[in-house]
C-alpha cells in the first residue's frame, strides 16, 4: 500500500554503494540534503490546510488506515473506495461568529487488489479516523502443502 507522494528518483539514489568507487564522498550528504529540502518544503506547502497525518498498518486479515482529523463532525467525513484508491475527505466548519475558516482536506491512498472493497468499515474516535479494509480470502497467507511424489 503506498501513499501518493511521488518522489522523483534521482540517479544517485540508485547508485550502488561500493565503497566510494562509483559515488563521490559527498553523495551521502547530498542525498540527505535533498531529502531534507523535499520534506521541509513539501510540508510548508501543504500543512494545516490540505494534509493530515496518515498511518498504515496491516495484520493477516485486514489493512488499517488511521488518519488524524480532530474537530470534524462525523457527517462531514467521507470515506470512499473508488478504482483502487481509498479517499478520505473531511471538512471542518467553524462555529458561528468566527471568521470563515471552513477548510476541506482530502487525501488518497492506493489500495491493492487484495482488499474486499465492499466490506470497508470506519470508526471515528477522539479525533482519529480508523478505516479497516478486510483482505480477500485468497490473498491471506495460506499454508499450501505439496505432496512430493
Amino acid at each position: 500500500m503506498r501513499i501518493i507522494r511521488y518522489h522523483q528518483p534521482s540517479a544517485r539514489s540508485y547508485a550502488p554503494v561500493i565503497r566510494g568507487y562509483h559515488r563521490s564522498p559527498w553523495s551521502g550528504l547530498e542525498i540527505e540534503i535533498d531529502r531534507l529540502f523535499n520534506s521541509t518544503l513539501g510540508d510548508f506547502a501543504s500543512t494545516s490546510s490540505t494534509q493530515f497525518p496518515v498511518d498504515l498498518y496491516e495484520d493477516k486479515d485486514n489493512a488499517f488506515v488511521r488518519a488524524e482529523l480532530p474537530g470534524v463532525d462525523r457527517s462531514d467525513i467521507h470515506v470512499e473506495v473508488v478504482d483502487g484508491y481509498l479517499t478520505i475527505n473531511a471538512s471542518r466548519k467553524t462555529k458561528d461568529g468566527h471568521c470563515g475558516q471552513a477548510l476541506s482536506v482530502n487525501r488518497s491512498v492506493s489500495i491493492p487488489d487484495t482488499v474486499q472493497s465492499d466490506q470497508v468499515a470506519a470508526v471515528y474516535e477522539n479525533g482519529v479516523l480508523t478505516v479497516t479494509l478486510p483482505k480477500r480470502e485468497e490473498s491471506k497467507p495460506q499454508k499450501i502443502t505439496v505432496a512430493v511424489k
Partner: protein, 133 residues
C-alpha cells in the same frame, strides 16, 4: 519557550520551574492551537487528536496555562506498521500570562480530539471606563 507563546503578550518572562515530579516521561510535541480574545474572556482551541479525557491534564496558575495530553492508543499485537506519519509523543502546550485569568471560572471541553477552553479574564484587566473629575 515562555517568551514565544504568551497568552497575553507581555515582556515579562517568568523563571523556568524545575523539578516537576509528576511530569510524564518522554519527548513532547507542541499541538496546533489558537487563542482568540473577547472583552470578557480568552478562547483557547487546541487540536489534540488521539487524546481522550483520561490522558488529558489542564492546569492553570498565576502565570501559565498548561495543557498536557497523552495519546492513549496502543498498536494492537499482530498489527504490522507499514507507514507512519503521526508522532506518538505527548502533547504539551504552555501559555504564559501575567495574572490575566480568573481561575475559578475556567471551562474546558474535549470533543473529538479538540480541546476548547474558555478562560475568563481577571477583573483587573478587563477594559473599563474611567471617570474624570
Amino acid at each position: 519557550m515562555s517568551l514565544l507563546n504568551p497568552l497575553n503578550p507581555s515582556l515579562w518572562r517568568p523563571l523556568p520551574t524545575r523539578g516537576d515530579a509528576n511530569r510524564p516521561e518522554g519527548p513532547r510535541q507542541k499541538p496546533v492551537y489558537r487563542v482568540t480574545e473577547t472583552d470578557e474572556a480568552y478562547e483557547l482551541t487546541v487540536q489534540l487528536p488521539g487524546v481522550s479525557k483520561d490522558g488529558l491534564a489542564v492546569t492553570s496558575d498565576a502565570s501559565e496555562i498548561r495543557v498536557v495530553g497523552q495519546r492513549t492508543w496502543k498498536r494492537p499485537e499482530g498489527w504490522t506498521t507499514l507507514h507512519r506519519e503521526s508522532v506518538d509523543s505527548t502533547y504539551e502546550l504552555v501559555l504564559t500570562h501575567d495574572n490575566a485569568v480568573n481561575h475559578d471560572h475556567i471551562v474546558a471541553e474535549l470533543r473529538d480530539g479538540v480541546l476548547q477552553v474558555t478562560l475568563p479574564k481577571a477583573g483587573a484587566i478587563k477594559p473599563r471606563k474611567i471617570e474624570v473629575n
